[in-house]
């Protein structure tokens, strides 16, 4: 049913665009209402039929995926929740995907936040992702929520040498030394991978400057689309990979789904949001091309 809807709507949109391309070759303009109809279709069809596109991870996203994939089982992975509710729709899919992937691979996951709001978002992630999808994982053994500490990059400056100078207990007040997951963890240097998800200050940039670089620890990140361009100069030397905006999230979700069949039914908000975006983009670009063709044809005719 879905496939039928998809094929029909693609045929309609494709044939329509082709028709207007042919008209453009005769120098004819497209009426604006036609464009509106195409945009309407391009956005509503993917919503109605839950059309998603095969996303292919770009190298910068694939780098993050490969890193988690290639770490030996039982490696230590830290995920920092550096965002608040307003940024959540865009970056929460990323932190959830990181969390899923790390747990599925059997890594030990340490959650924390440089943003005060990150602490409760991390707690939500434990409820909605870990407890639901990985009921066998044990708190304190396979994962832990360290919570938020005030001090922005100052926190990193301290925990790069000694985590316990900042964190004596986890978020629930349990002594860190009583948690098996903390055995042998003295500082961030004992982590195999640091991941920061966010899009403001403090965020990925601070993780690079105050933890990754001084400690020679690999840093990966997920960032809102607005701030992603500012992080590209760090890739690939200081930042091993980056998920930028909904697109990055979708690519990662797709990569995860391809290799882990058990995630076939988990929600993929990133991929879902990309459907209408992609189609609308294509339609707009098609019309820009059509517009230019009819413009040049008409100009040549006029002499």
């Amino acid at each position: 049913m879905n496939n039928l809807g998809l094929i029909i709507s693609f045929l309609v949109i494709g044939a329509g665009l082709l028709w207007f391309l042919l008209r453009a070759l005769q120098g004819k303009e497209v009426e604006r209402r036609i464009i509106f109809v195409f945009i309407g279709l391009a956005v509503s069809v993917p919503i109605l039929f839950s059309i998603t596109f095969a996303e292919k991870a770009s190298p910068i996203v694939k780098a993050v995926y490969d890193k988690i994939e290639n770490l030996p089982d039982g490696s230590r992975v830290l995920i920092s929740y550096d965002y608040g509710p307003s940024m959540a729709p865009e970056v929460e899919p990323m932190s959830n995907a990181f969390l899923r992937h790390s747990l599925a691979k059997g890594h030990k996951v340490y959650l924390m936040g440089l943003w005060a709001t990150g602490q409760s978002i991390a707690a939500t992630a434990i409820d909605s992702v870990v407890r639901r999808e990985f009921p066998e994982k044990v708190y304190g053994v396979d994962f832990v929520n360290l919570g938020y500490k005030a001090g922005n990059q100052g926190v990193l400056n301290v925990i790069i040498t000694d985590i316990r100078k900042m964190y004596l207990t986890d978020v629930g007040g349990i002594d860190l030394d009583s948690l098996p997951i903390m055995d042998g963890i003295k500082s961030l240097r004992n982590m195999n991978l640091l991941m920061s998800v966010g899009g403001g200050f403090p965020g990925i940039k601070e993780w690079i400057q105050f933890a990754g670089d001084p400690g020679h620890i690999p840093v990966a990140g997920g960032s809102a689309a607005v701030s992603a361009p500012l992080l590209y100069p760090y890739y690939p030397t200081q930042l091993l990979g980056l998920l930028g905006g909904i697109k990055g999230a979708a690519e990662y979700e797709a990569e995860l789904k391809r290799h882990y069949p058990q995630f076939a039914d988990t929600p993929q908000p990133g991929i879902k949001m990309m459907g209408p975006q992609t189609l609308a983009h294509l339609v707009i670009m098609a019309f820009i091309i059509i517009g230019n063709i009819s413009f040049f044809v008409a100009r040549r005719r006029r002499g």
Partner: protein, 272 residues
């Protein structure tokens, strides 16, 4: 005559659809009995869906349904802001400082009598003098107060936040520390952290800003070298405008996704 008959038919169809939608949505899904809150809720969801469609109909052409939604929106929103302003600023801010009696009447806690709050009260009343043709000029005092104060405040605010920091950020090193040819030419791709790129980037920012400013010169003819720089300036501006436009497309599509999801899901219930 034919046209108006069609109008009537469409109107009747729209009203019928509205009523049908209202009736269907009124039935609770879980088999409970129909209740006043569910009828009320169904009415408002249907109303929201209809005004949404009415606004979308504008894309085809101006029509009575758009006109209806537009005029309703204007009336309701004007009153909304007036009520919010009245309760939060007038009652919330002014009344508790000038009159214990009025505070009691409006049910707000009386703070303390502050003489200075009579100034905006008087200026506000002077502003209302506009309605009289004879004393209308008095309203200028209030306008002068507002324009003067905010002109001063704005001047400073803009200088502080944007202007001076933008000037000082233009100072960038145009030469990089030489670490050998290998390091310099290590990475040619743009947006990388390589030395070559860094230098190129700094040069482009500097020259771009410089030429952009030249474009904004008003009192000199744009001729010769000056004109060339100003042309480069407008090129940089155009490239930027194109990039911003392209970048915004993404965000705007998600707004439409939100509205269509409301129609398909909350109203029609098409998505499981």
């Amino acid at each position: 005559m034919n046209g108006s008959r069609w109008t009537m038919i469409v109107l009747i169809a729209v009203v019928t659809l509205f009523l049908v939608s209202w009736a269907i949505k009124s039935f609770p899904s879980s088999g409970d009995t129909i209740s006043w809150p569910s009828i009320r809720h169904a009415f408002f969801v249907t109303l929201a869906a209809f005004v949404t469609l009415a606004i979308f109909s504008f894309l085809y052409k101006d029509n009575p349904y758009y006109k209806f939604a537009e005029h309703l929106f204007v009336g309701v929103s004007a009153a909304y802001w007036m009520c919010v302003g009245f309760w939060s600023t007038f009652v919330g801010n002014l009344i508790p400082r000038i009159s214990p009696g009025l505070s009691k009447f409006f049910g707000v806690p009386y703070k303390e009598f502050t003489f200075y709050y009579f100034v905006p009260l008087i200026l506000g009343i002077l502003l209302l003098m506009r309605l009289s043709s004879k004393a209308g000029w008095l309203s200028r005092w209030a306008l002068a107060f507002i324009v003067g104060t905010t002109a001063g405040l704005n001047l400073i605010r803009y200088l502080r936040s944007d202007f001076i920091s933008q000037v000082s950020n233009t100072f960038v090193p145009l030469l990089v520390q030489w670490k050998g040819t290998g390091a310099f030419f290590s990475d040619f791709s743009l947006a990388s952290g390589g030395q070559f790129t860094l230098m190129l980037t700094n040069w482009v920012i500097f020259i771009g800003t410089f030429c952009g400013l030249i474009y904004f010169f008003f009192s000199k003819e744009h001729k010769g070298v000056f004109g060339a720089a100003s042309r480069v300036g407008i090129w940089v501006l155009m490239i930027t405008f194109g990039a911003s436009f392209g970048y915004t497309v993404m965000g705007r599509v998600s707004l439409l996704v939100g509205r269509l999801t409301f129609l398909f899901d909350d109203w029609l219930g098409l998505m499981n």
